[in-house]
């Protein structure tokens, strides 16, 4: 009954396929220069977008080709941001400064800093299951406005 209190981020996409209670949705990375011929090549971001898997109890309501909106809690978005970028950033920088403090060697500390994110990513990899559980998406039929 009650309105959602959480804030959502919305992103339009197109249903790619639908199996079981899983809907695969392709979202476009809408780059800044929307009307540029270079489109997605600019900035060298992949162009065709990504496939998002959405679990939905009403997956049969969605058919391939349909325009939908994918939604995600803003707070989850921030969490993803933290795990994806901020935390490795912090690890990298603190590794850099620590190593520099210890060894005083620039090349060594730089390499350490860069390599430190490898174990971080490994940890992420080990936890991918629980992350999958946590990052849930909602789906709804698309609207023109968004």
């Amino acid at each position: 009954m009650r309105g959602r209190k959480v804030q959502n981020i919305c992103h339009p996409g197109v249903v790619e396929s639908q199996e079981g209670n899983m809907v695969l949705v392709r979202i476009e990375s809408r780059s800044s220069c929307g009307n540029c011929q270079a489109k997605s090549y600019c900035g060298m971001v992949e162009s065709e977008g990504r496939i998002i898997e959405v679990k939905s109890g009403r997956s049969e309501d969605f058919s391939p080709g349909q325009q939908v909106d994918i939604m995600l809690d803003t707070s989850l978005g921030y969490r993803a941001l933290f795990l994806g970028y901020i935390l490795p950033f912090l690890i990298m920088v603190s590794g850099l400064f620590l190593m520099h403090l210890i060894s005083g060697d620039e090349a060594l500390s730089a390499l350490t800093a860069i390599l430190l994110i490898v174990p971080y990513y490994y940890l992420l990899y080990r936890n991918r299951g629980s992350l999958r559980e946590r990052f849930r998406f909602y789906i709804k039929p698309g609207s023109k406005s968004s």
Binding site: E46, E48, G65, Q67, K144
Partner: protein, 292 residues
């Protein structure tokens, strides 16, 4: 010679080759993982579309339509109202398909409750939005079906195809600009605007009223309301007119534009657009001319 090709050349070639190699491997992997399988035809189709992103096709923008068309490999069921059949024809040519014949449509206003015919009984003094006015009261003229005149439809039109006539208090649709995107239809809280076939030579006949009240009641608020007398239904030989809830409706697919029905309507609720002037004027054609 040494001037041009020295160890700098060597270092350059080697190091950049190495960097390039590493980059290549990474980018190669990228290409593998995120292969671009986008059909180049989508771009072509998109290029042909007008780019108004109006949503008239029912999809989220021109690109979406282009994708859908290419995906279906056919134009069946797709329609770009702003572009019209011209664009569809072009796409068909570009793709080497047959273009499906499109019926050009246009928006019509099914209310003639001008200040003259449905004089205002009260004065509205709130936000100029039909949606709110509709929720507040039946309207200045008292007709609970008629146009409220706050112009939600006009604001919804992206193509400058509508304007509010200050005289009549009704919106006016400019046929030549209307691309049948349907935005106004959605905007009107009273469903007054209908998308109809443009018709031969732009000619259209329709009942310009959607009042479903009983005749007397409807007539009390508006002189040109459809009173549900049924004369037009009897007059039409093509069974194009139906009567439901005291309201006549002309089916544009059946109507042959024979013009028989209009003169018999006692309230002049039936509109003829873009016809030549009748030779023998029935009682009050002057009113009809206003509507053209």
């Amino acid at each position: 010679m040494n001037e041009l090709f020295n160890e700098i050349t060597l270092f350059s070639v080697v190091s950049l080759g190495a960097i390039g190699g590493v980059a290549a491997i990474i980018l190669f992997m990228v290409a593998q993982k995120f292969r671009v399988i986008e059909d180049p035809r989508i771009d072509i189709v998109e290029g042909l579309l007008p780019g108004a992103n109006c949503g008239g096709c029912g999809l989220a923008g021109c690109r979406a339509l282009a994708e859908a068309i290419v995906k279906d490999e056919s134009l069946e069921g797709f329609n770009c109202p702003p572009g019209g059949s011209d664009v569809m024809q072009q796409i068909a040519e570009a793709m080497g398909w047959e273009a499906g014949e499109q019926t050009p449509m246009v928006a019509v206003l099914r209310c003639n409750g001008t200040r003259e015919f449905a004089p205002p009984k009260v004065q509205y003094d709130s936000a100029m939005t039909c949606t709110f006015a509709h929720s507040l009261f039946s309207g200045e003229g008292g007709c609970p079906f008629g146009c409220l005149g706050c112009g939600d439809c006009v604001r919804a039109c992206d193509f400058d195809a509508m304007y509010m006539d200050p005289e009549s208090g009704l919106p006016v649709i400019l046929d030549e600009k209307c691309v049948a995107c349907g935005a106004c239809v959605k905007a009107c809280p009273r469903d007054i605007i209908e998308m109809r076939k443009k018709g031969k030579k732009n000619r259209r006949i329709f009942v310009s009223c959607i009042n479903r009240e009983k005749g007397g009641v409807a007539r009390k608020n508006c002189k040109v309301a459809c009173i549900g007398c049924g004369r037009c239904v009897k007059e039409c030989r093509f069974e194009a007119i139906t009567m439901e809830n005291n309201l006549a409706y002309i089916d544009y697919n059946k109507c042959t534009l024979c013009r028989k029905c209009a003169p018999v309507c006692p309230t002049n609720a039936i509109h003829e657009l873009n016809f030549p002037v009748r030779k023998k004027k029935p009682a009050d054609t002057d009113k009809q001319e206003k509507n053209v």
